[in-house]
Amino acid sequence: MILLLAYGAVLLSFASGLLALMMNQRQMLLDLCQYWYKKFPDRHKFGRSIFENALKERRYPHLLRQVVFVLLGLSGIFAALAGVSVMLGQEIITDQIGLGLPWLPWHVRFDSLSGFFYLIIGIAVTAVSLYGPGYVHAYDESQHPFAVLGLFTGLFVSGMLLVLLADDAFFFMIAWELMSVASYFLVAFQHENPANRRAAFLYLLMAEVGALAIILGFGVLASFADGFTFDALREAKLSTTWASIAFALALLGFGMKAGVVPIHVWLPEAHPVAPSHISALMSGVMLKVALYGLIRFCYDLIGAVQWQWGVVLLIVGTISALGGVLYAMMQTNLKRLLAYSSVENIGIIFMVLGLSMIFMANGHPQLAALGLLAALFHAFNHALFKNLLFLGAGIIQHQTHELNIDLMGGLIKRMPQTSKLFLVGCMSISSLPLFNGFVSEWLAFQTALQVDILDNGVLRSLIPVSAAALALTAALAAACFVNVFGMIFLGQARSRHSEKAHEVKEKGMLAGSALLAGLCFFIGIFPGVIIHLINSVAGQLLGQTLPNDTALGWLWLAPVSSEQASYSPPLVLIAALIAAGISFWYLRRNPATVMRRAEPWDCGFGGLTSRMQYSSSAFTMPLRRIFAGAWIIEEQIGKEMQGAMNQDVATIRYQLQIQDHSWSRLYQPIAQGVNKLAKQVGRIQTGNIRVYLGYSFVTLLFMLWVIS
């Protein structure tokens, strides 16, 4: 039954993709319809009228879009249901599908870990399918055919779901690459823009390299096992060295997809250029699938984790978290900023996962479970709020035709609904209490604080440092999102587009976002719901659950013991409401002190204009100066002088370009190296036939010499 739900989710998303292909086939359907009714004129009168109505020229595309997204939404709901039920049942369901290699059918396994990620995907897809119809409505069919978008969205979602189901290396890779390729087409969807094409290319290239690394990782395991099924791989007995090689390959492969620094560069290029609801899925969900892969590979397949791997993950995660947030802060393109922020969050998840590994390898499975819990919980939360933010960004782009936050402003009054939803997202991602982001971060800190239990002094001093880095990351993220929200919604409009913007008419777009925002808040108040589910994952994966549902009762969250730490969001919420209520009531009781509105003080310069506001680059200037080494900064101030002695400044032009270090340090050298080598290799093809004959001659002589 559960498996049926899981399959249903895959098939529904697949069907939605295929159905989208019918976009241009209206005429064919019409003909088919005619033919059918000519043949059976008196049957299905009722159905006929419905059908003909549906096939009317004006309604057909609209209707088809609706149906496609309904199917997608159903797929999401099915996935979420399947995920929850498998986690509640704590079952492991296996199956085989008769496809694949002759001696290796596709193996399927649906357990709690898969189920958890199924839930993440399910929620995200449901929200996106609510959101989608309104968003894609704006696309011009001849320029951006819906058939393409719908098809690859469906394939993308089903690819992600299949990755979670896969139980053999071959099937896993097929699903994995299906996911990559489908999302590549989505990135390249608006391909008339050269930047998008470049991003798509980079994305596919990195996906390919990552996939190769993963295949090799499986290959390492498989060479110690008989067969490619995960069951066989689990049995593989590896020496520590080989296991470490396999881990390194998996980290490279999955890390590339997840976008850890320094192999993250494709991510901020690719995610922003896709349509917003796809960016949401990519940033919010696809990265999680990479995380799933890593967890599956390390905890499940290799099994015996080494603490050194944990340290590697911890360091990589810390660098990613810090790097991600620092880069995010410097972006002015909203979606790019969000993409970098995904790098940051993935970094946090990796950090905590690293902690979990360290504890696991040091023989503290309970703390390992805590770490895993924090990592998975943060993954879940990130999926929620990053989806929400991307959807919000989509609404903003939809309404203002603009993504540069330095050209927005004042939208809080023109788009009140959106602004509230977006604020929830910003607060969650800044990990403020009462919202979900805080809970997982709190759990991460709690995990890090258990470090005293370890024997290794280096680890004991390393982990708190990384925890401090986590604190820095969180604070910077808060700064970053204050900037984002402030620039977009507060102040005065900085461009005509944002001045003329208004709230979206499509209710679905708001509903999709509202669903996510509501979940952000709900999970922030009742984190126990999710923790309970994750516990079953930890139980299956590590054989150890948290001693949760503590002595303090269900209102409290006390992961280790109530002595050590506890947090009760509902109580905090109640207290906050009381405090705010009292102050509100008390201060406004006097009718004489009703608020008065007036022009703000403009220092006597004659009116406040939007150009006097702080821009985002001004906002981040202090941090830019403090962490100057983190970026490649090109700042240019061009002054035009005038006046008698050429002393007065007539105009000032300020240009700021900020680049990623890994681009010039890692990618460009490789690209140049390949080009250089290709140039050298090109010299083989001289064009002279005598030289070619010479090659053949020399080869012959050489070979003869070799064998004799």
Partner: protein, 487 residues
Amino acid sequence: MIAAYLVLLIPSVGILVFVLTGHKTDTGKLNVRFNAICLLATTWLAINVLNQGTILSSGKAFLIDPFNVYLIVLTAFVGLTTSIFSAPYMAHEKELGKLTDKRLKLYYSMYQGFMLAMYLVLTTNNMGVMWVAMEGATLATVLLVSLYRTPESIEAAWKYFILCGVGIAQALFGTILLYYAAVQVGDVENSLLWSVLYENANKLNPEILEIAFVFMLIGYGTKIGLVPLHNWLPDAHSEGPTPMSAVLSGLLLNDALYAVVRNKMLVDGASHSNMAGLLMMGFGLLSFLVAAFFLHRQKDIKRLFSYSSIEHMGMMTFAFGIGSSLSTFAALLHMTVHSLTKSAIFVTVGHAAQVAGSQRIDNIRGLIKTQPRIGWGLLIGTIAIAGFPPFGVFTSEFLVLLATMHSYPWLTPLLLLGIGIAFAGLFRHIQPMVYGDKPESQMPVKANLWPVMIHLALVLWLGLAIPGFLANWFSQATILISGSTPL
């Protein structure tokens, strides 16, 4: 067995008909019909093999075993679909005034001639005849390469002719040595028959066979396009008419590799050293890597894909060289999917070039906007050939990688490097061609893209599931070649 004779007879009749009747408006369709009948005949042959197993003709002149039967069907199939593509394509070329009736007559008769040579290479049991047929294939196609009579095409044809001629002469020397070795042990009459040689392989003198194999490898390797013997290949593929490029890439290279593998089986039987395998691995890997780099510098779309053919042939050679059952299985599968995919790509490439009126990559832009089917066909074909699942090329590459990991783990990084670089090389050129806004001058052309769709659908099918009978053939061929079953 009648089926086998029929397979050879039909193209011969085809040659005669085309030579005698000259070019008419419906010659293209007639060509399609000949190929269709041939496909039927091969299917019949395949069914025979399916029922009876290996067939050896009465005079032992022909041998149909699981290794070649699927190649025969594949040849007929690609021959058919390419002829479907070529009919409107050549008609369009004639409209443009590039070709005359006389040349079209040459084209169609040589098309059948080439098919005949291919069938002969595959069906014959005689290593000498195999050589003759292989040389015949060169001779049949060399005039087609220069069909347009441009300076470039003549140059390409000349290079093709000389390099392949000289190369294949080495193969004849190898064959003579093989014969020499065989004469030492057995009866003179049947000493060049592969079935006899294979039975007596362990009696043959290993030293002679090793030398013979070097000559064979160099000789047939020139036709496979192994680096550094490949130089003719991009020229010949890029300058001839596109249907020719499709069959050259899809069929001729396969058949040359087929010949090498047949010889390798003999050498492996005679000598216990893994010399033949190592040589093939070396050549294969070198070709694979060098071709991957070449991809980056291409300016001509057909050259681009001909280098990709070199790359894939390199991979197959490498896989056959490893010699384990898994890698052999992978190589057999790769032969199939590569042929299908590459010929499909060449079909779209041909149309794309017609759309843009040029083969230069820089001039082909915005195909998806100009003619979506061609654009998507090219893009998806490239995705498939670059080894993305769920297409079959992925399956075979995956298996090759795992097999390498099993047998020669330290070579896998090189292989991965090659795959990555090749992929980047392909896509950096493909993307600008299919994406973007369309240039003013580009106009849609009349194109029949069913072959492309069928090919890609087949490749997709092979990627998702290998049908039982094919898997069975592959396994039997694997047993034949490597001596053990795949897993």
